[in-house]
Amino acid sequence: MASVKKDSEASSFGSARPTTEIASASPVARDLVGLLTHEDLDRARDRWRVTRARWKGRGAKRFGGLRVLWLLVGPGVLVFLGENDAPSMLSYSATGARFGIGFFIPFVALTFLMGLVVQEMTVRLGAVTHRGHAELIFDRFGKFWGFFSMGDLVLGNFLTLITEFIGIRAGLGFFGIRPVIAVGIGLLVVVAAMTTGRYWTWERITLGLAIFNGLFIPAAILAHPDWSAVGHAMLTWTPLPTGHASEILLLILADIGATVTPWMIFFQQSAVVDKGMQPRDIRAGRFDTLLGALLATVFAIAALLATVPLFHHGIDASQFEGAQFAEALEPWIGHVGAALFALGIFEAGIVAAIAISTSSAYAFGEVLQTGHSLNRPVRDAWPFYSTLLGSACAAAGLVLIPHAPLEFVVLTVNVIAVLAMPPALAFLILLVNDRDVMGEHVNGFWENAAGIAVTVLLVCVGIGFGLATVFPSLLGR
């Protein structure tokens, strides 16, 4: 067990420790009575609903169980559907257009399994410690490593936000909407979501938007894929992709980066904390995460299948941007199918813009020790909301600059996400094995094995990318 350095700032409240002690029964209850905030009241209201649902469900477990699940579902679904963002859906689309039905379908499912392994740990961390990921890293590893982690997050998030607004612009561009209006609509939605002043309301609004990630399903159905080939591919992982090894490697990296990224760790843990989840909610949190992974897997594969007609007709989609996919697909999936595809790209950009800008705001608030909750009104947590809105506005503004070299961002954002993941995973695995922090909820053997396997795989893939870049002839280019 790692020994603990006593923090010099620990007061009569003592050091933090893993506990399910109820606040009213704690030795400091009397001190807390006069210190409650609006955030505490909102969180208590949310906990009341869960308590009441569990209590009412004691006589009819299934109903009570379903109601509790409904109340606790949120962070997991949001993080995975948020990760099905514009560049991710375009990665899947590019994969389908380039390689058709085959290896990449089960591979995409595998990447979501990797994401599930990672995200499950964030649920436990958030529910047990009631602290966000950035805050925990700063607490346990110090400012030096904390700022390194924040640097990865800030860089990755900002680049990804830019691509979300590119997706928003491209998605609405299919309908002839001018870029400045499309980007403005995107910003309006982000602002509207953040001004609810209630985590619960923000979550339900964003979930409502996120479910439209399913628009790729009707687009895929309209592409009339060979379903028996899909089933064959899922079982056998064939046919294998053919072509330049470097191109295949890049798509593998992009598809992994479309599923496993640092912002997901920071976001889901902070959302679990903001939602007020407790250790007894971990099981529901796992279900929430699994549900999110399953939905996102289905929607991702749908995006891949929707562009298979381009593969069958030999259309080179390697330089396509968002709207061009929809336009190129129209002869084969019809105007309705193409419109659904374009709307799906728009939705992917919107939800991700909300989630990613929120993850940046959570991280800054945790590090700067300012109010960082969607349960706080704007006037009480203006640094938090300023970060949220500021990051979205900066990304949106860049997208509107004429001739801005954004192709660099689009080409690299998912690859950068994969490359930045190993250090983020290292901190996550160290924290979730820290008994001083997690108590009885530390990782077991299989959880560690799975987490380490994911980390090693990402490092190996990254090294492969590095070798391919330095020695292109290695891959026969």
Binding site: A10, R43, R140, P423, V470
Partner: protein, 92 residues
């Protein structure tokens, strides 16, 4: 550790044992004791602000791991830039 959580507290409270109407009623959040009975100590903003888990001692192995991964990321970012430059300006 047996949880002394809000739901166990309500279950054991004779006032709540069979009181469905009371459970159905809205909580009196004006009463701070009700609020504190629903949250764990560390969920209360004031309590969380006043406590820290504290720095852990990093073993040599952990430091080597963290530094190794940090060097890996920096090296990879350089290669990403190289890769993008090649993609945008292919050599003939």
């Amino acid at each position: 550790m047996k949880p002394n959580d809000s739901e166990s507290k309500f279950a054991g409270n004779p006032r709540r044992a069979d009181s469905v109407p009371e459970i159905a009623a809205k909580p009196d959040l004006e009463d701070p004791r009700v609020v504190l009975s629903l949250l764990e100590t560390d969920q209360v903003v004031a309590a969380k602000q006043k406590t820290r888990f504290g720095r852990r001692n990093l073993s040599v192995g952990v430091q080597v791991l963290l530094w190794g991964l940090r060097i890996y990321v920096v090296a990879m970012l350089v290669l990403v830039v190289v890769s993008v430059i090649r993609a945008i300006h292919p050599m003939h």
